[in-house]
Amino acid sequence: MAVNSTLVCIAVLLATSMLAIIVHKARLGTRIIYVCVIAACLIILGVAVFRLLGSPGSAATVTLPIGLPWIGARFRVDALTAFFQIVINLGGTAASLYALGYGEHEEAPGRVLPFYPAFLAGMNLVLVADDAFSYLIAWEFMSLSSWALVVAHHRDGENTRAGYIYILMASFGTLALLLAFGLLAGPGGSYGFGEIRSAQRADWLPGLVLILVLIGTGSKAGLAPLHVWLPLAHPAAPSHVSALMSGVMTKVAVYGFIRIAFDLLGPPAWWWSIVVLALGSATAVLGVLFAILQRDLKRLLAYSTVENVGIIFIGLGLALAFKANGMTAASALAFTAALFHVLNHSFFKSLLFFGSGAVLTATGERDIEKLGGLIHPMPQTAFAFLGGCLAISALPPLNGFVSEWLLFQAILLSPDLPQWGLKLMVPAAGAMLALGAALSAACFVRCFGITFLGRPRSSEAAAARETDSFSRSGMFLLLAACLLAGLLPGLVIDAIAPVVQAHIGGRMPAQAAIAWLSIVPIAESRSSYNGLLVFLFIGLSTIFAVQIIHRFASNALRRGPAWDCGFPNSDPATQYTADSFAQPVRRVFSDVFQARETVDMPAPGDPRPARLDIKLRDLIWDAFYAPIGRWIAYAAEKLNHLQFLTIRRYLSLVFGALVALLLMVAIWP
């Protein structure tokens, strides 16, 4: 039943995109399309929630007579699928709601509307696919439709370039997955996940598969060093699509990893977790470090997505490590933390992208150096955005903190791991995680402070207006979700429990029963956290303080000029800029960035303005991708001479081939 309804909804989505081709010119076209999408998403969402809470244990399957002929397209919904369905369709609903308003500003709806539902359909299809072929088709269909969305604003060369790199990386990942499935399915070509699960394999094989899967899903999730496309492609798309790509599509990649590494691949080996942990922590720190330095608002958010993906993979790595050593409880904790973070990130990253989209429509600017003071014209957006910033900086009582807290608790359990490699790896990962959390706080202070606070740095910023109600409602919906997940983490954990049960074999203790709705990962004597109470305390003491102050203190208030240190210059340009805000960090981690600073300080009396240029490049790009590109160009150039030979030379090619083959036949035994 669950499967059928999901499939029907997916079909509806596809039909919607067909419809969009026709109606995208119509006046109400945008509205119609997004409303249809919302409806479909909500239905899938409802079914998934019902399933996850109602009958989590069982798994429903359906086989359609399409796809690979002798296998058919198999679809399956189990707890894991249901959980990710919730993540995706929540994001989808919010994004569509937001787009009801935001989409009106779209200048080329014909290039967005048809692909948007297809994109959502693709993501949903990935989740329910139950054989390698339909999985990969859905996977690549997802990439394809999102590619079309990335190049929607195609007149900007940046976007098309981003799209190119994106589709290239995407199909690279797909080929890696293809190889992985090839290994899993074996020469017989039994592509069904069922057969794969039950298959017996040589012991060297799963390791290789895991590496391939890491490459395949990592390239989609933005795992370093495969993340280079992400900061290019995500900002290029329209903002609600960026939100989907960053907040949701990366989660589909995570789903792929979990599905294969935890489900299809059987019991893990302990060294897998080392790989995953190393990649995860490297990604986390690199991502946030680069995020701090970005001037482009949406690119900053994209880099922070990279960081959060890193965090998620740290959690998964821990789960693998514990699982490999049979420490079920700890493994369940880590896995729960990872899934929880998946949920959280999908919330606040979408929220932040919505905010950036609102800013974009209000000012037409993505460069935060040209923004500022937006809190005055658009207070509600600012409020929502601030909430997102707090959540993503892992601050209580919002949701971001809970998942990181669970992760820390999981790390604290890891000294019992027998392997030395893990003993050294895990604390390092923990340090990286802490560093990442702190840095992301700094990053988002900068982001929010420069964008919304201070004085407007450009006329566009000064002329900004609050966005429409649909956009705001989309943002506040997600903000509420963040708050709820932060206040009542116990319920979320219990909801996740069946997934954990299914793939780890154990689960965290039930949280709902505990008094005051606090959460207790292992035992109360070890650690416990109660978002609700913390929130209440903060609220109470705030009220208390306010009351006291307003009771006893004077309420006199006078507006005056800001303290200028006896140096009157009211030019907004004198404000602290984003680059100068990032400068300390840039200095401290200078050997990571290799940022080139060129200072041009004119001699006294020279009217020239002093200039400070900062060139920032993604090292990974220089290290891996640029050389490959150069090499291919070189090879192509060399081979290209073969296009310009004389007929005689071509003949001699044929001749040579003939002689060579004859020789081969001659010396054939």
């Binding site: 014909g110 199909s171 071509y650 090619l653």
Partner: protein
């Protein structure tokens, strides 16, 4: 269209497949006037297609000269279909050419006649039950295409035709030598004369043949017919012939002639496979295929001419198909057949689009074509869809074949899969790069509306798309039989 009417015709459908184009050719040679001849051309092609369809229904017994079996009927049906759609496309295309005076009516008469001759000879090559006859037919097909490639009489066209002609003739010669050797190998077993060249007889007795002789023969046949397939060291004629000839011919070349040549290679591969002592033909084909794939993949990057670009992509895909058949086994063979079908459809569709694009933009230079999706949405998105299909992205048909091929290869011979995947990636990169430039960005060139017939284009794409989702059961069974046949 009811098939009863066709089978009630006085002659066998087998012969119909040959006679219709033959007579049409003669008619077209005589008749003047572009409209009439174009229509006639389309009708003839359509009739041929239906005749081919009837072959599916009731399969005639094997004759000495002609025969129909699972393998060649795939090619025949596919070929006649693409022939039909291409003729429909060429009707509108040629019309435009006449208007701008690139072709004179005399050329035209010649053109249509040649088109039918080509159809005839290709069908003959496919249906021939006699390896000598097959050879003659393929030679004939080559000659006609040579004439059609040179039809514009520009420097480039003549040079391309000349190159094609010389290389093609050498290929033909090698193929003939191979054929003779096969006969020599068969003669001691089967006895002198006709029978020793009849395919059905050969395949039955193949195991008793002299294996060494067969080896040498296969070398010659592989190189000879491989030249036509356009495999890497022998490919030189292909890009120019595609680029300089009229676009319908490019479509026919990529969609049909390459397949016919491949069909010949397959026949002889089966022959060798049937003989236990002979060298396994698989590795040779696989190697040639890989070389072509990699080579073409790199060549794609430096192309400046849109038709040459897709010509090289044809080389690439022929490489993939040859590799697949070289790998052998049920999965790979299935993938190969599927890929071949899909490639014919897609590539001809792409050429349909490219033809109209080149006409409306008045150039084939990639650098002069920009922002198609904006200036000519239907054509542009059609091209995008086609390239996406040819690049092997789902949900289009080629993805399925590549999926089967890559996964099965990796499971069986991982080391072979690495270059395969690498080649696929390289080619993909090049194609998408060019596509991005052509389809997106600020439009250049004329924005004039194009009077084009989109039906063939989108008919093909629709077929490819649906094949990506769903292969009808009978087709699958049929392909599986063929795959088994190919061993």
């Amino acid at each position: 269209m009811n098939l009863g009417f066709l089978s009630s015709l006085p002659f066998q459908p087998v012969t119909a497949v040959l006679v219709i184009p033959g007579t049409a050719a003669i008619l077209l040679m005589l008749l003047p006037g572009y409209r009439l001849t174009a229509r006639l051309n389309v009708i003839a092609a359509l009739l041929t297609f239906f005749a081919a369809l009837t072959l599916l229904v009731e399969r005639p017994p094997h004759g000495v000269y002609l025969f129909v079996d699972d393998l060649n009927i795939v090619f025949v049906v596919l070929g006649t279909f693409v022939g039909f759609t291409t003729s429909a496309f060429s009707a509108s295309y040629i019309g435009h050419e006449i208007e701008i005076g690139r072709l004179t009516p005399t050329n035209l008469r010649f053109y249509h006649a040649m088109y039918q001759v080509l159809m005839f000879s290709m069908n003959l090559a496919l249906l021939a039950n006699n390896i000598g006859l097959m050879w003659v037919a393929i030679e004939f097909a080559t000659l006609t295409t040579v004439l059609m490639v040179g039809i514009y009489r520009t420097h480039e066209a003549l040079e391309a035709a000349w190159k094609y002609f010389i290389l093609g003739s050498v290929g033909i010669a090698l193929a003939l030598f191979g054929t003779i050797l096969v006969y020599m190998a068969a003669r001691p077993v089967i006895g002198e004369g006709q029978d020793a060249m009849v395919w059905t007889a050969l395949i039955e007795r193949a195991r008793d043949f002299k294996s060494e002789l067969l080896n040498v023969a296969f070398v010659f046949l592989m190189l000879g017919y491989g030249t036509k397939v356009g495999l890497a060291p022998l490919h030189a004629w292909l890009p120019d012939a595609h680029a300089e000839g009229p676009t319908p011919i490019s479509a026919v070349l990529s969609g049909l002639l390459l397949n016919v040549a491949l069909y010949a290679v397959l026949r002889f591969k089966m022959l060798l496979a049937a003989n236990p002592a002979a060298i396994a033909p698989g590795p040779l084909m696989a190697t040639l295929g890989l070389v072509s794939l990699l080579f073409a993949g790199f060549m794609l990057y430096r192309r400046r001419d849109i038709k040459r670009l897709f010509a090289y992509s044809s080389i690439e895909h022929m490489g993939i198909i040859t590799f697949a058949f070289g790998m052998g086994g049920p999965l790979a063979n299935f993938a190969g057949l599927l890929h071949m079908t899909m490639h014919s459809l897609t590539k001809s569709a792409i050429f349909f689009a490219v033809g109209h694009i080149a006409q409306v933009k008045g150039t084939q230079k990639l650098s002069d074509i920009r922002g198609l999706t904006e200036s000519h949405p239907v054509l542009g998105w059609g091209l995008v869809l086609g390239v996406v299909a040819i690049a092997g992205l789902p949900p289009l048909g080629i993805f399925m074949s590549e999926f089967l091929l890559v996964s099965s290869t990796f499971a069986r011979a991982p080391l072979l899969a690495i270059p395969l995947v690498f080649g696929l990636l390289v080619a993909f990169g090049a194609l998408m790069l060019r596509l991005t430039d052509v389809a997106f960005g600020k439009p250049t060139g004329s924005m004039a509306a194009v009077e084009a017939s989109y039906i063939p284009l989108f008919a093909h794409l629709l077929l490819v798309l649906s094949a990506g989702f769903y292969l009808p059961g009978p087709l699958v069974v049929w392909f599986q039989n063929v795959a088994r046949l190919l061993g």
